[in-house]
């Protein structure tokens, strides 16, 4: 199982802070495609992905037990 964390607007769109996805092993890219199909996430394309609290690239591997965060454009400061 892979835990997906949502923030800001996408958290409100889905109505949850966290989604659990039943997958053993995938990539960042495939995971984004999966989310795109199953949820209405307006900012997914412009979002970064962090795996276990570190920014990840499209082809990075994601496996069961990982925590994946969808990071829309940040606006801190």
């Amino acid at each position: 199982m892979i835990n997906i964390l949502l923030f800001a607007q996408m958290q409100e769109e889905v109505g949850k802070e966290k989604i659990a996805v039943e997958m053993e092993k995938t990539t960042v890219k495939e995971l984004k495609e999966y989310l795109q199909m199953h949820y209405k996430l307006t900012q997914l394309n412009e979002s970064m992905v962090a795996v276990n609290e570190a920014y990840a690239l499209e082809n990075d591997e994601v496996k069961t037990g990982d925590t994946v965060a969808i990071i829309p454009p940040v606006s801190g400061g």
């Binding site: 800001a8 607007q9 940040v74 801190g76 400061g77």
Partner: protein
Amino acid sequence: MTDKLFEIVEEPILLEDMIKKVKRREAGAITTFIGTVREFTKGKRTVFLQYQAYKPMAEKMLAQIGKEIEEKWQDTCVAITHRVGRLEITEAAVVIAVSSPHRKAAYEANEYAIERIKQIVPIWKKEKWEDGDEWIGDQLERIEYPTGQPNIKE
């Protein structure tokens, strides 16, 4: 406050505490930057702001910025605290304190910190206006990622 140099908090940030974190006998200059909640942005009146952070990662990213700074400007010492939750007009959302033997580095490193915060730290703000609200992203803030992604490694 705690002794942590890089921190996400929910309470008001006390400036004197931030100074204490970077004060040193070898410092001749301490700069601070306080990002405050402004009432008007592009003519539109803000009622309050709501900040949200991916806290553990945000603290890691703040620490990374501190590390970048210590590599770029020798002998500097940095502390950054970002507040989350509801913030009223004039309240401090972020405070950056930098101490250095000489002033030039203290100014430069401080400005570098806020630019990097706006690029890589997972924190978001929601503007509450009189007629609605919206999560702010780079489209509105005009932060541009030339590669379509934040510059993760500086």
